[in-house]
Structure formats: C-alpha cells, structure tokens
Amino acid sequence: MGRRILITSGKGGVGKTTACALLGLQLAALGKRVVLVDADITLNNLDMLLGLEAAAVYDLYDVAEGNCRLRQALVRYPYIETLSLLPSVHPLGEVDKRAFGEIMLTLAETNDFVLIDCPAGVDGGFVRAAGGAREALVVTTPSPTALRDADKVLGLLEGYRMEQVGVVVNRVRGDLVLSGEMLSVGDVARLLHARIAGCLPEDDCALAFSPKSSADTELAVAVRYLCRYVLGASKTVYDATRRFRGLAGGLRRLVRRM
C-alpha cells in the first residue's frame, strides 16, 4: 500500500502546488510510482504546471460520479514513466468525502506515493482532502500571515491522527535570514512546534523546471533534501543560508541587494 500524503497550507499562494509537483517529480525520477492528485481547482493547477492541461479528458469529479474509470482519468507524464496525474477541472463541491477517500485508497494500491494537492482554506475542501491522506506536509512561507494559517492547519490536523506531519518552509531567502529580515527555519520550527520536513529557497525559476534538465539549481538541490526526508533516508533540511556565508556568500548577498 502506497503512502497518501496531503500537501496543505491554510493560506493560498504559498507554494503547495509547486511543492507537490517538485516532490512528485523527484520521487518519480528515483523510480517511485507517484500519482499527483489535484484536489484544488484554482489557477496554476498541477496540470498546468506539468504542461498536461490539454491531456486531461476526464477528471476526479468524473471518477467520483462514475462517468469514467479511474484509469481513464489518469494522465501519464510523458517524461517520467512512473508519474501520473489525476486532474480536477470541475469543482469538487459535489464529491463526497467517502468517494474521495476511496479513490485515494485505490490509487495507493498501485502507487508508492499519492500526493494530494489540497485547496486553500480549512473548510469542506480541506476536510475532504485530509480524509484521504494518512500523512501531511504543511507548506508555509516564513511570513507571519502564512505561519498563522499554517498553525491553524497543524491544529486541525491533530484531529486526523496523521501518521506523520511535517512542515515545508518555502520561498526562503538565505540572505534575508542572515540579515534578520526573515525568520529562519529554526524559528519556524519553534513557533509552530512542528517538525520541519524541508526548506525550499526562493527561486525565480520555480516553475521553469524541465523534466530532462538535471540542472543543479539551488531549488533542485533543496527538493532532493526534501525527497530524502520523505523517504526517511535523512532528517537533514536544506540550509538556504549556506551559500550566503563566508566571503563568496557576502558578495552574493551584496549582489542580491542591488
């Protein structure tokens, strides 16, 4: 049985979908069978991010309604054999929690990882998505508003008795952390009383990932750390401040300021 992981945040726009796609791509690149589930109908969906929006014929709603078989709704990612996507085009308002949960379980039978991209907020959409998962990754940025929402979600998740809950701190700028203008990953851990699963740096090309390039961008390196954490291979979180330390780091900081 594969692992069902909810990618959630409370606040929208903090990078759930991005983190979900990046983690999924990386796990799949390691040969894990991964399905990304879009439980969020907003702009910047998973299908768009992966360039698969044209390939979606049926979606999660159709599966729940019995309009098609689960297999028919899954979209294969052309560049990595072990990655697929269950898209959402229709609003999921009508899909009940039980049906959603059953679909997630079925997916877990044939995949190593089911990553569920949760809608923002803590209402029905959250409840439905959380009910389908056994683990959660709470994505937040180091900003106070995002952290407040993340804290609420962490509180709610306590009621779900998840097997594991970790926080992914996204859009971290090592230079600002060093200058004290941004909370560090350690600060976030203490404030939220939570385990940090990963730290993803701010990267202007966050979405420009190409499946074939193995470009060693800072973000790509950080995603590999996150991936190792999720696989239980290491507890080390990427240190976004490292490249801004020392002499070369000081120069980088100067450049970023300009």
């Binding site: 106070p144 952290l147 407040r148 804290d151 609420k152 509180g155 909370l183 600060d187 851990a189 203490r190 404030l191 939220l192 009383h193």
Partner: protein, 68 residues
C-alpha cells in the same frame, strides 16, 4: 517580530480551543476547591509563550483556609 508572532499564535491557539482559558480556569477552580476554601475572585491564570516555543503557565490564587 518573533515575539509578536509568538503572542499572536498563542492567542490564535487559545481562541481555537473553544475559549480554552476560561475552561481551564474553571477546571482549576474546581480542583483547588477540593483542598482549599478558595476566594474564587482571586484566581488569576496566565499563559505565555517562551522564546524556545515552550509555554509558561502562571496561576495565582488566594484561599481563606485550607481543608484538613
């Protein structure tokens, strides 16, 4: 920034737990009343967060006498 955020998070958490503070206060009042003839008006309860993320819980109360 950290301190302020910590206070805000603490308030959020206590408000989220169905008004935890009054409930905790009345629970403590009941507990103490088994041992003391408590001046109920005097009971003060404060929860604050420390820098390391732990909580400091301070309770102050006055009792007229102790039950023997």
């Amino acid at each position: 920034m950290k301190d302020r955020l910590q206070r805000v998070l603490l308030q959020d958490r206590m408000a989220g737990k169905c008004n935890m503070l009054p409930m905790l206060k009345s629970d403590l009042e009941g507990l103490l009343a088994d041992y003391f003839d408590l001046d109920k008006e005097s009971l003060r309860l404060e929860v604050s967060a420390d820098e390391d993320g732990s909580y400091r819980i301070v309770m102050r109360a006055r009792a007229v006498r102790m039950y023997r």
